[in-house]
């Protein structure tokens, strides 16, 4: 293996040397970008098509692009709200060439954004990553959550415990939970907690979502073993303000506001977003798992239909950034602040059978941050991006009631001691410092080096006035430090038909853990240290046979570091451990993109991806003794599968897309944690869906009711195959299964002629199917929402 790697590396190096020989002949392009009224345009984008060359115009509208190779090029200037203009240039010698653009304002803003984002997506895919992207702009008129949107992507499954704000587990090609990392504009979101997460952030604040499958770029530099989701927030240059409000079933209210303002003379820039979500989540649940007890005979009556009564969810957040853009000393310098808060009632435990009436938890996060971005720092081609933040997270669990509730929300009796799930008033405080350094150096037009470093320092304390049986580590602050570093070399060969990235990542953690021991009749407290570090590596490559047919291959040996709770324990039932190693996986993707009739009115795209994940040292909870647990490295799993996607579109009038994905996860552990031979070896992993499909039809038309108005309509069908909660080879009757499910969603939207107001109507789960992502936890039935979006211009 190492020999092979070395040969590949040598092969790779020879290409670099080759490519460098052709970098001498180049020239400079410069000019000005102005509007029709001859006003200079700041931050207009000037791109040389089919190259990575490009820049933004300065405040006086001027721009300059260096090292343009000899030959014929298409130069495109674009700016939000203006029609893009392309010009063809021919560079034959080293003398600088001047090219000016006058951009004309357009009314079709949305289309412009669409074009821009599409091209960026394509660029990432061209580098060989398997990436699914969503242009959120298209969906912003709808009352949909990020989870719903992501769940429709091929190979991705979001499993939710209930309605709005409920716990969700995200999986990408079968890998899930902590092996998937979330980012907001490239910054890890873990430390913001549940209140500012994929579960709460409204789609209105997001411009684009990128989902990386298996192989994750160095820029996101984190221990994302199974993949990563990067939310890219709206980053408009022109001053704007947008507000939306959605109301619907289960008393659900969702409000969001976002905007930005730039003072052109001083370069002062501010960006603001805020949201508020509320839902009673009092949807109906029914079936055998729902029962009431006769308090005389204690006999039970199953199969009743009830409304959930302790499941309300409320969250709010504000994110504010202020600073300067386009200064000599910084392309961007921002101070930011995130505040978020949530309140969630808990309706039941791991199944719906026993309802809770009062248990809840709250969370509060305050996180100031700072970011600095400068291109061409010290030397040309060196770009630097710094981010640093502090976050203070406080989570409170409240579960003390003595009341025993039934599914009608009535009190059936009293416990002697309180607590529905676990009697607790636990307060967890977690302070985290996070810093990220991201640097890119362009060696030449075909090669660039990227470097990324993230360090986080986490400090955690627990308090619970109800706990008197604390273990010694319970009140002690515990610490966990994580580092991850990545280095990448990005290259282009054969007139950019072959794109490759070669990268290496380094992960490490060290923790100080408090443990207790017993010496000569006394309890002695020890400060144990735990640490581990790992090197990961990988490459991605894509080759374009023609502009309509590309293949890409990517491979990564990667790791996931243990989480705070896995290492430090919870001071109660989870024991700390100093023996935990990182989880590791070898991820391989092989994919293709095929486009038919690219030049014509209609267009057919067909793409597919074969994937392979060999996961070892999975971190799992194991019973430590009769009453406590500990995390151990156990179980190897091999996953293979494929995703395919077919998309047909006709002009802008309608699109139809069909996805299908199949997963075959196989247990590879020969023995169990006690050394017994494992009877389930070489059988499929339990509690994971194997088959998914999604059909989506969307159409838009103009001039309904009013001239110049726009309307859209969509219908989507989602299918998930049956899977077992436990091993499918054991037992044959009364097995816990999550049934095969199909649900339909429908929606309609109307954009008024001035494009300031959009109204939409969404109907989810039209046929009121009983839906389950997890065993015996029912999701909402039919639900309707209306939404209004207003854009101030």
């Amino acid at each position: 293996m190492t020999q092979k790697t070395f040969i590949i590396f040598l092969f790779y190096c020879s290409f670099i040397i080759n490519a460098q020989n052709h970098t001498e002949a180049s020239s400079v392009l410069l000019g000005n970008i102005t509007t029709e009224n001859n006003r200079p345009l700041l931050n207009a984008t000037i791109l040389i098509e089919n190259t990575s060359l490009g820049t933004n115009s300065k405040s006086n509208g001027s721009y300059k692009i260096n090292k343009i190779p000899f030959g014929t090029h298409t130069v495109t200037a674009s700016f939000l709200g203006f029609t893009s203009i392309s010009k063809i240039i021919k560079i034959e010698d080293n003398s600088p060439l001047e090219l000016n653009f006058t951009l004309v304002e357009t009314k079709e803003n949305l289309d412009e954004i669409t074009i821009k984002t599409l091209s960026k997506t394509q660029q990432k895919r061209d580098k060989g990553f398997v990436i699914e992207t969503i242009k959120a702009s298209e969906l912003q008129a709808q009352s949909v959550t990020l989870n719903t949107v992501l769940n429709q992507l091929v190979g991705i499954k979001v499993r939710q415990d209930g309605g709005l704000g409920s716990r969700s587990n995200f999986s990408i090609n079968g890998l899930s939970g902590k092996s998937i990392r979330f980012f907001l504009d490239g910054i890890p979101m873990d430390y913001y907690g549940a209140s500012f997460s994929i579960n709460t952030i409204p789609i209105s604040l997001i411009d684009k979502i990128e989902v990386y499958k298996g192989v994750v770029p160095v820029e996101l530099g984190n221990d994302a073993l199974g993949g990563a989701v990067n939310l890219i927030s709206k980053n408009q240059i022109e001053n704007n303000l947008q507000a939306s409000y959605s109301y619907g079933s289960f008393n659900t209210h969702r409000v969001s506001v976002n905007g930005n303002y730039q003072h052109k003379k001083t370069g002062l820039f501010t960006k603001f977003s805020a949201f508020y979500n509320y839902s009673d989540n009092d949807y109906k649940v029914w079936g055998d798992d729902i029962y009431v007890t006769n308090l005389e005979t204690f006999e039970i009556e199953r199969g009743i239909k009830v409304k959930r009564f302790n499941d309300a969810f409320k969250s709010k957040a504000i994110k504010f950034d202020a600073g300067f853009k386009n200064k000599k000393w910084a392309d961007s310098f921002l101070l930011g602040f995130v505040y978020s808060n949530m309140d969630k009632e808990i309706q039941h435990g791991s199944t719906m059978t026993v309802p809770y009436g009062e248990a809840s938890y709250k969370q509060n996060v305050i996180s100031p941050n700072f970011s600095y971005k400068k291109n061409n720092l010290f030397t040309k081609g060196l770009h630097l991006n710094l981010f640093s933040s502090y976050s203070n997270l406080v989570r409170k669990r409240i579960d003390t009631t003595k009341n025993i509730y039934n599914w009608y929300g009535e009190i059936d009796g009293q416990r002697t001691l309180g607590g529905e799930q676990t009697r607790t008033l636990n307060t967890l405080k977690q302070n985290t410092f996070l810093s990220r350094l991201n640097a890119v150096y362009n060696i030449n037009r075909n090669h660039k080096i990227g470097y990324n470093y993230i360090v986080s320092n986490l400090n955690r304390t627990d308090r619970d006035p109800l706990i008197t049986q604390e273990t010694s580590g319970y009140y002690a602050p515990q610490k966990l430090q994580k580092h991850s570093m990545g280095l990448s070399l990005q290259s282009k060969f054969f007139e950019k038909k072959l794109n490759t990235i070669l990268f290496s990542k380094w992960f490490s953690y060290n923790a100080s853990i408090k443990t207790s021991d017993y010496k000569d009749g006394d309890v002695v407290y020890n400060n144990d240290k735990a640490k581990a570090s790992n090197f990961g590596f990988g490459f991605t490559s894509s080759y374009a046979f023609t502009s309509d047919f590309k293949i890409n291959i990517s491979l990564e040996k990667t790791y996931r570091l243990p989480e705070a709770e896995e290492i430090l324990g919870d001071g109660l039932t989870v024991q700390s451990t100093s023996d935990l190693k990182a989880e590791s996986s070898l991820n391989i993707n092989l994919g293709f993109d095929l486009t038919f009739f690219a030049e014509e009115n209609y267009n057919l795209q067909f793409s597919g991806n074969l994937f392979y994940r060999d996961v070892t040292n999975l971190i799992q909870q194991q019973q430590y003794d009769l009453a406590s647990f500990q995390y151990v490295n156990f179980d190897d799993v091999l996953m293979k599968g494929f995703d395919v996607k077919l998309k047909y579109s006709f002009k802008d009038v309608f699109t139809f897309s069909q996805t299908f994905s199949k997963l075959n996860p196989v247990i590879k552990s020969d023995t169990d944690e006690f050394g017994n031979d494992n009877v389930t070896v070489d059988t499929r992993l339990s509690n994971i869906p194997f088959t998914q499909a999604n059909s989506n039809f969307r159409t838009s038309f103009n001039g309904l009711f009013q001239k110049k108005s726009k309307s859209f309509l969509y219908w989507s069908i989602n299918y998930t195959g049956e899977f077992h909660k436990n091993s499918e080879i054991i037992g044959d009757t009364n097995l816990d299964k999550i049934p095969e499910q199909v649900y339909h969603d429908f929606g309609f939207g109307y954009v008024f002629p001035n494009e300031k107001v959009t109204l939409s109507f969404d109907l989810n789960n039209i046929f009121n199917e009983q839906l389950f992502d997890n065993y015996a936890i029912q999701k909402p039935g039919r639900a309707a929402y209306i939404k209004m979006t207003y854009t101030f211009k």
């Binding site: 039970i300 059978t353 026993v354 017993y518 003794d625 023995t671 017994n676 299918y719 054991i730 044959d732």
Partner: protein, 433 residues
Amino acid sequence: MKKQINLIIILLLAIFFTACSSDDSPSEESEETTIDPFSVLATIDDAYYLAPTESLDEEALSFINNGTQLDADQAARIIGSGGYIYSLNYGTGLLSQLELNEAGSYDVVKEINAGLSVGTDTPRYKLADDNTIMVYNVVTDYVYNDLDEVEDVTCTLRLATVSLPDLSIANLTEFIIPQSENAKIGATIGYHPMRVDAPVISGDKIYFGLMHLDMYNPSTPPPFRQPKQTGLETLVFDYPSITNGTITETNVASGHTNGYRAPSMHVDENGDVYQSNWFMTGNSFDLSEGDKTVISKLTDGIYDTSYTFNVSEALGLTGNVGTVGWFYVGNGIGYMPIQLEDEGNYYTDDSWSLAKIDVYNKTAIKLNVPLSNLLEYENGVVYNGSFYLALSPVGTDSFVYKFDPSSTSADGFETGLQLDGDNISVEGLYLNN
């Protein structure tokens, strides 16, 4: 080109629909006309399965694609009595009465919310006599002084009687368990009764074994707190009224008397109660030098201090010997899972053997069965004069073992029904009629 596209679309749709419509063809049901006489309980990865078998003596039983899954939110606890299987869903508190059908699976006859009757989703229960299941729950609550320090602990027992086979609940009782000074010696603020279990009914009395823990700090790490709780205690009520709750105690040995999944108490043919003890501190099995595993005798609601049977001594083994309970066959003969401290950890290692004990003649023999883990083993079966128990050792085949109660040999057993082995652990055998 268009043709090709059509072909691709058709192919894709075909893949899609075949995937959607693939349903499991119903498995062939075996034509059985008689009910198998035994049920076997197996567990793997926290799921519980029950399967019938025609014989415990020969052939093999596998849970691969065989057996009925039991509802188990956290765990399932099984009792067999009067031709029914009773399954308690630990986590919801529901108690189901199951009956084996001719197809070899189990039908639910009746369900009651036994947990709610004692105010918890996680009650404990045991068969107290052939017609009675007792359900109970103990909660411990702290008593604080003016300085907000824990001064004492209140231990409240809630219990209910479930009559079989009609599964009707009666005798809902709440009782504050009296605490003896004896048990408190050596603890931070005293050893408190935090669990009751293993009820037996004899005459007009019902007996509950008691577990005491130092509730203030039960997590003291190994080798555990010294001195340990002293004495043995048993909670006794008048039966069937469940009144006059008292604690009977003795100093003939120390430890808990509640047993674990194996019961600690049995009533012999004369109506005497024989009880085993065990040692547990915090979350760990706790055997230290000089701890003795004993059988004690209770008659008419009190300890008979004239009776002593030191099982540890009778076995004559070097190293500490512990137990969690035992199974009674008749005529004073019983079989006791024993943990041999020299063989490893009680929870993770195959450090358990089996002893044949005679509570009348006070003899004990360690049987030459393979070492396995019997900590959580629930039930054996007496059938045609033999005693049957399943052993699931690591690394070798698993069988039901057939023991001859009349034999005095350490090899007085033979292997019977072969089990899956591997990590499918068989935890109990039950009679279906």
